[in-house]
């Protein structure tokens, strides 16, 4: 089985004077399903194309199994890539598309027939071998593109926004298929996406990129629970961010002066933040909500607020609550028969100190 590791060491790339990737340092383990997550223009596709050999970094090293492959032309890298638009050749049948790489490798006719047949079986398209790509649906084209890439047994599999051209239902189905296939083949796989849900549900680990800078690397839960900075907190899941300043840390309390809200006395976390400007981050579903008169438990920090708007989303309702001069988002699980807070309602919001994160970046 082809299981290669991939390592980026201080990789930088710029187009003219515009930096696109800045000092990327990253290690992907053999057999790992790894996601590059970021908004458009973050450099994630550039990084993927750089691994494939279509972009060339100006400094740094790109190692596959410890060997620097910078400067090796794409066709000698043996790194398979599935393109966002699938890039199936319209003048070839499905079979010829899949056999393309084997022809380049001068495989024997028998081996070719066996391998192409096997991979088409694997993706469930054996009966479509004689068709042209234009005669297939989007999902089938996606499978052909995948089959064409894995049949050459690449050292690495790269997927560029593999699900973005599919409609929502198909996307969820293909997501699972991709994951199963990757497990089965054990291929080290890197895929690019701007969809955090896609990354969280499929990848073993992921890297979040923004403005060409690697923001954080980790598992889905790791990034969600312990974001390093404001960008990651906001991009992976939804977050409330209270800007302000840590003014004092004592033996068991911490004073956070929130802008537009005033000082909050909070429990001291195990690793307290430094004194100075910071943001307090927490997830909407971690904020409990009570009518103003009702007492809350003492384990939480309670803030008085006014409901500004309410959205019913099925599993939960999302409220926008004004507290002092800031607006906080609170998600409350929904059950039939349980009423909703109306806009204008006087409420109290409870923050769980264990879930609060202090971000100084």
């Amino acid at each position: 089985m082809n299981q290669a590791s991939l390592e980026c060491r201080h990789i930088s790339l710029s187009y003219g004077t515009t930096p696109v990737l800045r000092d990327i340092d990253l290690r992907i383990e053999p057999g790992e399903f790894f996601a590059l997550l970021g908004p458009s223009g973050s450099g994630k596709s550039t990084l993927l194309r750089l691994i494939a050999g279509f972009n060339q970094h100006q400094s740094g090293e790109l190692l596959v199994d410890g060997q620097d492959i910078s400067g090796v032309p794409p066709h000698l890298r043996n790194i398979g890539m599935v393109f966002q638009n699938y890039a199936l050749w319209p003048h070839m049948t499905v079979w010829d598309n899949v056999a393309f790489g084997l022809v380049e490798r001068r495989e024997s006719r028998d081996a070719m027939r066996r391998k192409v047949g096997a991979v088409l079986d694997l993706v469930g398209l054996a009966q479509y071998a004689r068709r042209r790509p234009a005669q297939l649906s989007g999902g089938q084209q996606q499978r052909v593109a995948l089959a064409r890439t894995i049949v050459i047994e690449p050292r690495l599999l790269l997927l560029d926004e593999p699900l973005s051209n599919l409609d929502k239902q198909l996307r969820v189905q293909m997501r699972e298929e991709l994951k199963n296939l990757q497990r089965k083949l054990g291929l080290t796989t890197v895929f690019v996406t701007h969809d955090q849900e896609e990354a969280m549900t499929t990848a073993d680990r992921m890297a979040v990129l923004d403005k060409g800078i690697l923001q954080q690397v980790g598992t889905a839960a790791g990034l969600y629970d312990y974001p390093h900075n404001r960008f990651v907190a906001g991009f992976v899941g939804t977050a409330n961010l209270l800007e302000g300043e840590v003014t004092a840390v004592s033996a068991d309390t911490l004073t956070f002066h929130a802008r537009g809200l005033g000082p909050l006395a909070l429990a001291r976390p195990a690793e307290p933040p430094a004194i100075g400007p910071a943001a307090l981050a927490f997830r909407p579903h971690q904020v409990s909500m009570r009518p103003r008169g009702e007492p809350g438990d003492g384990a939480r920090v309670w803030l008085d607020g006014l409901v500004e708007s309410a959205e019913f989303l099925g599993e939960f309702s999302r409220y926008r609550v004004r507290v002092g001069e800031v607006a906080l988002t609170s998600d409350q699980p929904h059950y039939a028969g349980r009423g909703m807070f109306a806009p204008g309602a006087q409420v109290r919001l409870g923050l769980d100190p264990a879930q609060l994160r202090y971000l100084d970046r």
Partner: protein, 576 residues
Amino acid sequence: MPATTLQTGARARSPRTLASPGPLIAFGLILAFLLCFLVLPVGTVIYTAFVTETGAPTLGHFGNFFGQLVFRESFFNSLWVALASTFFASVIAVPLAYLTVRFEFRGALLIQTLGVLPLIMPPFVGAVALQLIFGRSGSVNLLLDDWLGFTVPVMDGLVGVTFVESIHYFPFILLNLVAAMRNIDGAMEESALNLGARGLRLFRRVIFPLAMPGYLAGAALVFVKVFDDLGTPLVMGVSNMLAPQAYLRITSVGVDDPLGYVISVIMIGFSILALWLAARVMKGRDYATLQKGGNALQKRRLGRWESLLAYGWILLVLAVVLAPHAGILLMSFAKVWSFSVLPDAYTLEHYATVFSDAGGMIGNTLLYCLLAAGLDVVIGTAIAYLILRTRLPARQWLDWLASAALAIPGLVLAIGYLRLFKGVQLPGSDRLVVQTWVLIMLAYAVRRLPYALRSCMAALQQVHVSLEEAAQSLGASRLSTMRRVMVPLMAGGILAGFVTSFITAAVELSATLVLVSTESQAPMSLGIYLYMQSIAGRGPGAALGVLAVAVVGLGTYFSHRFVERSRAAVQPSSRA
């Protein structure tokens, strides 16, 4: 090799396109070709027009030119004929374009046919045929005189030239305009309707401005073509225009006569001016608004009177456009045809004459044009690849240089060749280069390169880069990618470019007239012209013309079929 020096430092990283020498070599070769056979010859012509015999710079030749009545007259005649032809070509083409795009009716197919029919007949052949139909003693005037007692002198002098040129060149406007209007998104019209614009106001305020770039591109081309045309005035016996004057100076006074060069410079100047004006007006107005998945302009049915008007106009244009074809066909079978509506007797002997005498000419045409068109698509594909797929600095120059050939009249290029290669011997023999057919072929190739280049660029643009990258990531080298992916996908476009180059080169007369040095080198176009010079030769000339039209027409038809088929195979069908 400069490319390898870029890689000498072990850590040096350059874009992959610079790292391999292939593109650089191709760039160098193409540049050298264009310099030798386009820039230098034209440069020589311009230089000669501005220096005295001793090489001192002077404007005296221009003073001399404008000092002579015959040249002043020729200059204004050419200008007026070109402007008037552009105007009349527009009058014919604009309604036809509007009808095709706007209305749902069967005439659309007729209009499409109208669009290519004139182009497949060289204008100087058409001129002879039109004399027989519309001339002073042609069929139409004989009938008019018989029935109504008057004649229309539509084929005389400058009016005649304008008439022939308008009929021949209006398809350039028609095709460009139709393409531009087809690219207008129906939503543009719908939102205008939604905001209250209707009918003619809608046309004037929205549709026409959006189609303007297409119209201008066509109109500029017509102007340039007419201004530079040599064959038509010569055949019609009109010599007081610029191109015939230049030709007469060079052939009668000699290749050293400065006035021929002055005329050449003026012709280049006006061609460039017209194309530049059109490009300037169109700058930043690429109005292809049709969105992916958008609809074209809505078509509606014609009312009864509208239908009558539309069909009337189409049939009238069709009759006039078909006149030269009918005329040439009749002439090729006519035993005697003068002062009568139709020939008095028919014969096949002209074709026999042609096949026994002119076999060499047909062979020459095939030889020159196949080579020229082949050269064009090879260079065109290479330039397209360099421009669209590499980051070579200055790669745009190739496009500009190659496209500049559009503004160079064939006559001027040929004069430049004669001047530049005067006395140069073919390597390894004592034959002079100017006495071989190589220059004829190269003149064809250079003049037709812009068409081939546009086709190849369009073909490559349709091939998404990722199709190429996918091949590379699966292990295909650059060459293998070219062979297995790029060329098959571009085949339709390349073939279209080849055929366009071939058929337009086959009817090229102006460069041919100047460059052919012995009769055995003459291609069909020159053969037709020479036959047509004598009354007795008109029959065989017409027969040869019919053959040329048939070849060109069949070529166009089959390439069209092939391109449509390969496009259907390549483009995803909507029913996916």
